[in-house]
């Protein structure tokens, strides 16, 4: 059962890979490629956040900190000129995991809204480090000088098509890994911790350690999103670590639904599209975005995709119930006739 699950996931992964790689060849405008890379980078951010929000019930409001940490660490490592791209990515991945280990060790001791606020506070701390340590990070101008892309193993990322394919491959690998976490026994432990932490504790689960584990994993995964974006735009900016980026990630999750694995990606696509069209008509896209959020939250009172899924299920149930009723009635008639 487990094995066939993995096989199916790999199949889906290869299909996704093929589709993503093929898309820019079908529609050749560079705008589409840019759009897709943004969706992938922010999609990784939102999906890794959903490991915390949807799977574990930890609503982090500071997830963009690890996104920014990924972008800056990667950029700085590459600027030293002593690292190849895969090595720098690996070091950044581990480095961000360590950062989120330190922050997470403090944060997971708190519950619910307290947790949200303290993750936000630490994110603002990291943002303020980026802003004040000008000699290292370039302050509010962002990481200057561009990020070099030396070829490795015969792969030359200065070619835009190769760069795009590289992003797609990294993205699909990360999503596949997260899918395995989502389906693993560890993933089900996380659901247990979300739904009934007391029971999890009685079953011998070390709740704090499990939470810390997923916090670190999610942080490291978010850093990959940051790395992709830094690689693509050849720079890193403090906005990556600003609270609005975390807010956007949360909104993506809500648009796409917390209980669907692929929900956040759908949300990332929807939000990017929304922002794209809103910014054509008005410079006040925060206002429009805010109103859209309020309408959705107060109107549906849950995520858009969660709402759709629930609506479909309810419809199916009522249909089934009505068909059950008629079949029961039929059975009664038959019974009576038999008597």
């Amino acid at each position: 059962m487990m094995k066939s699950g993995i096989r199916r996931d790999l199949l889906v992964a290869f299909l996704a890979l093929a589709v993503f790689v093929a898309l820019p060849f079908v529609y050749t405008k560079p705008a589409l490629r840019d759009f897709l890379v943004y969706v992938m980078a922010y999609g990784l951010l939102a999906m890794s956040l959903n490991l915390l929000v949807g799977l574990t019930g930890l609503v982090s409001f500071g997830h963009a900190a690890y996104f920014a940490s990924g972008a800056y660490m990667f950029g700085l490592l590459m600027q030293t000129g002593r690292f190849s791209i895969p090595l720098a990515m690996l070091v950044t991945f581990v480095g961000t995991a360590l950062v989120s280990l330190v922050i997470g060790a403090i944060c997971v001791r708190l519950k619910e809204i307290y947790f949200s606020f303290i993750t936000l506070a630490f994110q603002m701390f990291i943002h303020s480090i980026i802003l004040t340590w000008v000699s290292l990070t370039g302050g509010d101008q962002g990481l200057r000088g561009g990020i070099p892309r030396p070829p490795f193993l015969g792969v030359d990322l200065s070619d835009s098509t190769t760069l795009y394919v590289f992003c797609v491959v990294v993205f699909v690998i990360c999503v596949t890994v997260m899918r395995q976490i989502w389906q693993s026994p560890f993933g089900y432990t996380l659901r247990l911790v979300r739904d009934n932490p007391v029971r999890a504790m009685f079953l011998g689960v070390n709740v704090a350690r499990v939470k810390l584990g997923i916090f670190v994993l999610a942080g490291a995964m978010a850093s990959v999103g940051g790395m992709l974006l830094a690689l693509f735009v050849s720079g890193a900016y403090p906005e990556f670590g600003f609270w609005t980026t975390s807010g956007e990630a949360i909104f993506m999750i809500m648009l796409g639904g917390t209980q669907l694995f692929f929900g956040p990606i759908i949300g990332a696509v929807l939000l990017r599209l929304l922002e794209h069209f809103v910014s054509i008509y008005t410079e006040y896209h925060g206002l429009v975005l805010g109103l859209v959020i309020l309408i959705i939250v107060l109107g549906l009172r849950q995520g858009v995709a969660d709402y759709v899924v629930e609506w479909l299920r309810r419809r199916k149930e009522t249909r089934q119930a009505s068909s059950d009723k008629t079949s029961v009635a039929d059975a009664k008639v038959v019974e009576r006739e038999a008597i």
Partner: protein
């Protein structure tokens, strides 16, 4: 770290007086914002992430009223009451619909509100920095004290903040309304069963917490440059204050706010790069050693 600058400041009375007065007004503002945040959290169990936006709104209301009338009193009242009304509307039509819901939903409505507020300010007033300037009523010669000068407005700010804090403490600890509010924090259903309109009380508490943010904004307006987004840093700092002082403790908020004020004022001379680091480090330390905060009674977990 620049200890030389610190010690040279410490040897000059003028510098010490200036820095202490700066520390006190930072502390006074933080205390008002943080006690509003803490009050709302203590009674309603929600953290109002839009509290910083309310502070900003208070400052802009005061600015607009001062531009229109030239009277600081009117500006102050407009800031306080305007934000109070905004707060009650926000509570009634937006926040109250997500009580007891997912934390995610509460976060999102606050996020949306901050976005809307920031953009409304950009739309109506403009995104550039605004200065309100010192009101004429306070255009007095500064007090001289140990060789240093203290603007009268600073004294007014600190006195206002302390008397509001004392009033808040008195209402909550010594009056019937305060008793009901405290009961509401512990057992809202029981309070409802006793025939008290809890929904209205929630709105009142939320409105009052917002008024505190508005007062802080209005008081800050003459001394600060106004920008959209000015609310965020004070929101984060006042959160640090409530964590260090303990959620729901007014005395704790006062002590912690003054502590942060002194760190900021003297850190600006001695270790400007580490000010944020020290504040966050202290917060982390308090969370590890005493998660309920220095003066908090109940554990925060």
């Amino acid at each position: 770290m620049d200890f030389e600058a610190l010690s040279s400041c410490a040897s000059s009375g003028a510098c010490i007086v200036t820095q202490i007065s700066t520390a006190l007004i930072i502390g006074a503002l933080l205390f008002m914002v943080a006690s509003g945040l803490s009050l709302i959290f203590g009674v309603l169990g929600v953290i109002n992430f839009a509290h910083g936006a309310f502070y900003m709104a208070g400052a802009y209301f005061a600015y607009a009223a001062y531009q229109a009338t030239g009277s600081f009193l009117i500006a102050f009242v407009t800031g306080a009451l305007g934000v109070g009304i905004v707060g009650v509307i926000f509570e009634r039509f937006i926040m109250s619909r997500v009580y007891g819901k997912d934390v995610l939903m509460q976060l999102l409505v606050c996020y949306a509100t901050i976005l809307i507020f920031d953009d409304l300010v950009k739309m109506i007033v403009g995104a550039d920095y605004k200065m309100m300037g010192m009101p004429d009523a306070f255009a007095l010669p500064p007090f001289e004290f140990a060789g240093g000068f203290i603007p009268p407005y600073y004294v007014f700010m600190v006195v206002m903040s302390l008397s509001i804090g004392a009033g808040l403490w008195f209402v909550i600890e010594r009056t019937r309304l305060g008793k009901i509010v405290r009961a509401l924090a512990i057992n809202p259903r029981m309070v409802g069963a006793l025939g008290i309109n809890t929904m209205m009380l929630y709105a009142v508490v939320f409105g009052f917490g917002s008024v505190l943010a508005g007062v802080a904004g209005a008081l800050a307006a003459p001394t600060r440059t106004l920008t959209p987004g000015m609310g965020l840093s004070i929101l984060i700092e006042s959160f640090i204050v409530t964590v260090i002082g303990g959620m729901g403790s007014i005395g704790g908020a006062l002590v912690a706010a003054l502590l942060i004020g002194f760190i900021r004022a003297f850190g600006a001379i001695g270790f400007p790069l580490f000010v944020d680091g020290i504040m966050f480090g202290m917060m982390a330390l308090v969370l590890i050693i005493k998660p309920s905060g220095l003066f908090g009674r109940e554990p925060a977990r």
